[in-house]
């Protein structure tokens, strides 16, 4: 399920255009609680300096051609003492704010009327990066 080499390169190139390697580390210590700091104190241009690690669990998606792919997303709901929700975060070793949604609607494309489904979300807070270190960052699930 991983990227082909060229695809991964393209993603990194794309992130580079957005100055992915910006300086966010300075805010990490101040955000040790995993909660957002007031906007007046935050550098709103900050980007996370390391990618997070995906949640270990997920679902296996089967296709008509008998192939399947494991996706680190939306693991099976386990009964719990609150309302049953699936893990809404895409990233593990995370302490912060998370949001996830599924909405549907309609719109107009170049080709005419179309229907849409959007499964978007966010994660913002303290997390362990691929480098094994703790960071603070904000991520969009798109």
């Amino acid at each position: 399920m991983g990227f082909s080499g060229s695809h991964e390169h393209r993603l990194w190139h794309s992130l580079s255009r957005r100055q992915f390697l910006g300086a966010a580390a300075a805010s990490a210590g101040a955000l040790a609680t995993g909660l957002r700091i007031p906007g007046v104190l935050a550098d709103t241009d900050n980007l996370a300096t390391a990618f997070p690690v995906p949640i270990p669990q997920g679902v296996t998606v089967h296709f008509p051609d008998a192939t399947s792919v494991f996706v680190h997303h939306f693991p099976t709901v386990v009964p719990n003492d609150g309302l049953p929700i699936s893990e809404p975060s895409e990233i593990t070793d995370f302490n912060g704010l998370v949001g996830l949604c599924r909405v549907t609607g309609k719109g107009v494309g170049t080709t005419g009327p179309l229907s849409f489904q959007v499964d978007n979300g966010f994660m913002s807070g303290l997390y362990r990066g691929e480098d094994g270190l703790m960071h603070h960052g904000t991520f969009a699930f798109i």
């Binding site: 494991f70 913002s124 969009a140």
Partner: protein, 143 residues
Amino acid sequence: MDLFNGAVGTNQVHDFNPGIRSSGLFWTVPVKEGALQADFEDGRATLALSDFDLEDYGNLENALKDGPEVDASVSFNMSWTAKGDAFNVSDPVHRFAGRYFLANVDIAWSGMEEGFEFTSSPGVTNVKSVFGRERNGIFFSDD
């Protein structure tokens, strides 16, 4: 962000997403801190991106198999608004816990690529939306 020529779930024609990282990180990318405005106590959050570069894989199967894609971009402004009271969840199997709201989400969005543009119409149907304050993995505690 999926588009269908017909009812949702049938005849998918566009699948905008940023790709799956080699680690398995699923359609998740860093964004500027200012893209998110969230206040858990107030039960509100907004996420907004403009001209965000990603890819169009055409359909979900092709996206999950990392098939051919074309350069695209999306813009969106979406808001979570809590409905009802916050509730606690603790899941020792998947090792996450937190305090969450179910939410209504509204979104206005557009997508574009060479030769194609899409703009959403006002009004959405919420299937299931949630936001909250969470700790998982090494931060999980079942206390």
